[in-house]
Amino acid sequence: MQVFKVFCKVLSKHKSSILIYVVIYLIISLVMSRSIQETKEKEFAKVSLKIAVENQDEGAVGKELIAFLEKHNKIKEVPADQEAMRDAMYYQEIDYVLVVPPNFTEQFCTGKTEGILEGTAVPGSSTAALIENEIRQYLDTVDMYLKAGIDTDRAAQLSSEDMEQEAAVEFLEESDARPLPAGFYFFQYIPYVFLVIMILGLGTVMKIFRDKELAARNKCSAMSFFQQNLQFIMGCILFTFGVFLFFMITAVCLYRDYMFSVKGLLSAANALVFSVCAASVAWFCVQLVRSAPELNMMSNVFSLSFSFLGGVFVTLDLMSDGVKQVAKFIPSYWYVIANQEIQKVESLADTGNIYQSFLVVLFFALAFFSVGLLINRMKLRTA
């Protein structure tokens, strides 16, 4: 088992840098999953915003409008001057500023509707559109009552009641209704992390074995070529499985319930399949580089491009059809698809599509491995 031993020795020699990568990327994936989960949940819950309101109006409509907003949001004072307001928005103390001008009720009752309120949203925030829509619907309703000849106070009160109407939304299957578990987000970022770690960790060791003189010396040793390769492959399996295990143990510690369910099991299988693919991408990369810094470069190019195009960082829904077609030629796309499908699974019996994605990822692994082998052979011939 000399080759295997050397493999482990090289690995332990580089343990500090490999450990840095593993820890940093574990932290990245944890922070990423937390932040995405939080934004996703906010988007679909009835968000409560922090709205600063300045009511200069003395009439009923202005007062009722604010009372209506107060039901689902937090109302705050408008900061004293423009500068303080910018600061408050900058540090997210307020999400939206609404100014109700004097004589608002009067103007509204006389039929003036365009631009009678002043609203300011934090630049780049998407939640502001929700609140603007609520205000618009509320005022439309009040106006309908007023046009129908109902007095202002009653109109405002009835409008608030009407706004409580909510659409009855049902889910086709019970499992659709549940929000995505935290474990889903953790697994979402695995492709990025695995690609980086495999290319940097496994790549470093592989590169040493590919060193021209070392390879030549190994070739004339008494050990058969088959034996050497077998032990080398065992080393690769050890590393790949080690990294996989490390992440799964973390997942078990953090998302215990999820990991001990069918979904968790399938997610783990998905990650295992992808780790094999990442290892063969690493093998492919090693054929293209000459030095360790080049390997570093490769790891970033491959991991980031696979993640951006494969739908790891940006959800596939946002991509145009053309880009999606291209994405199908990237293994992380199939991983992401499988990860989404897994969330719909209730038992091991109905998992048809998922295995298909697993297979595609494995085919990618085979493809990367074969192309790597081809380059390897071609280089040997020219060397």
């Binding site: 990245i28 000849g149 829904d317 880009v323």
Partner: protein, 382 residues
């Protein structure tokens, strides 16, 4: 002597293909990837496409909702309605041919009992549910009016469908800004911090245990500071020029609006580049570790810093502002993003100056720390 060393150092750096790749090509690749991934988002405010929806009406159900849907299909082309029966609709939904099913049941009222069935909750589903919600609210309102003052119904009905803009958009900025711009700011921040590899090279050429050149330099009589300055200046110049290329590529080739204060944008990237170079220099100066380990630490620091500024996941800044505001104050990439952001959002320069001052402080601290470590370094044996 300064100028000669400066020119040599420039030549040396430009000839290092790998470093040039990091600083010049990599940001361009990433920028192109962003453009491809967010392509549609940058071109239009919202991606507009017809939402296919199934409509299942029971016998005797009120036609009012069907009329509303029909008008949405004909007028704005918002919906694509497929009228069908319950079983077919379910299979369409399962195959993801439609985004939702509207069931209209006979409830004996004019409004009808309409429900929406979906399989997930995303943008299209939100739009469908808000259509239904609006329909129900209007019906409720009309019901109230017919009870309180039946004569006014006609006048009230005229309000429906009028597109009104009650809100005058107050604004704290003139520059239009999309959420996606943040990704490109983060990209520029990363671009600046790419200088870490160049900074590391300075240290490698100064630590006698890391390179032969350093051995020769350390024994020479020239002051170390005198040798260091041209090196730093040359690296900063090249890094800045690389960033300039990325800015031009993003603005002119990818047509991404990075704001209209071009000169200050460049100043920010210059300061960012200085921070990047000093960061690499500082990491390289620590201890007697191997170059490969330092290289790894450099890349990790750069990537982690960029990640925290929102390179991979948008909205990171907001997330950290609520959970760990300190990170936003000291992370170089976040500070670069923040200065670019405040440059385009705020009229005054107070925020901008604050972020820039923090960046410069970080640069000075890193530079001073690195120099303190390298200064008077002696080797008993190499």
């Amino acid at each position: 002597m300064f100028f000669r060393l400066y020119v040599y150092s420039m030549k040396q750096t430009v000839r290092q293909k790998l470093i040039m790749f990091w600083s010049l090509i990599f940001p361009i690749i990433l920028g192109t990837l962003f453009r491809v991934a967010f392509g549609e988002f940058l071109e239009e405010e919202v991606i507009f496409h017809q939402i296919p929806v199934a409509y299942v009406a029971e016998e005797g159900a009120s036609p009012a909702f069907a009329e509303t849907l029909k008008s949405l299909e004909d007028d704005g082309g918002l919906l694509e309605i497929i009228e069908t029966d319950g079983k077919k609709a379910e299979s369409l939904l399962k195959e993801e041919k439609v985004e939702g099913i509207f069931y209209n049941r006979d409830s004996g009222t004019e409004e009808g009992e309409v429900t929406l069935t979906v399989t997930r909750q995303e943008m299209s589903q939100s739009i469908l549910s808000s259509i239904l919600e609006q329909y129900q609210r209007v019906f409720h309102t009309m019901g109230n009016i017919s009870r309180e003052n039946p004569a006014g119904i006609e006048a009230a009905a005229k309000v429906i469908g009028q597109q009104r803009q009650y809100l005058m958009e107050g604004s704290i900025t003139d520059t239009p800004k999309s959420v996606m711009t943040d990704y490109f700011y983060a990209l520029l921040a990363m671009d600046c911090l790419m200088g870490v590899s160049m900074g590391l090279q300075i240290a490698v050429k100064f630590k006698a245990n890391l390179s032969n050149l350093a051995v020769r330099r350390v024994v020479s009589g020239t002051s170390r500071f005198g040798m260091l300055m041209p090196d730093l200046a040359a690296r900063i110049t090249i890094q800045f020029l690389c960033t300039l290329c990325s800015v031009c590529y993003l603005t002119y080739v990818m047509k991404i609006s990075l704001g209209n204060k071009f000169a200050l944008l460049l100043l920010t990237t210059l300061v960012g580049s200085i921070v990047g170079i000093f960061m690499g220099f500082f990491i390289g100066a620590i201890g007697t570790y191997k170059e490969s380990l330092k290289e790894g630490v450099c890349v990790c620091c750069m990537m982690f810093s960029s990640f925290l500024s929102g390179l991979m996941v948008g909205g990171m800044y907001r997330f950290l502002e609520t959970h760990a505001p300190l990170v936003n104050r000291i992370n170089p990439a976040s500070l670069i993003v923040k200065s670019l952001y405040s440059l385009n959002i705020y009229e005054g320069y107070e925020r901008y100056t604050q972020s820039m001052a923090s960046l410069l402080t970080i640069a000075v601290l890193l530079g001073a720390g690195a120099f303190a470590m390298i200064r008077r370094e002696r080797y008993a044996s190499i």
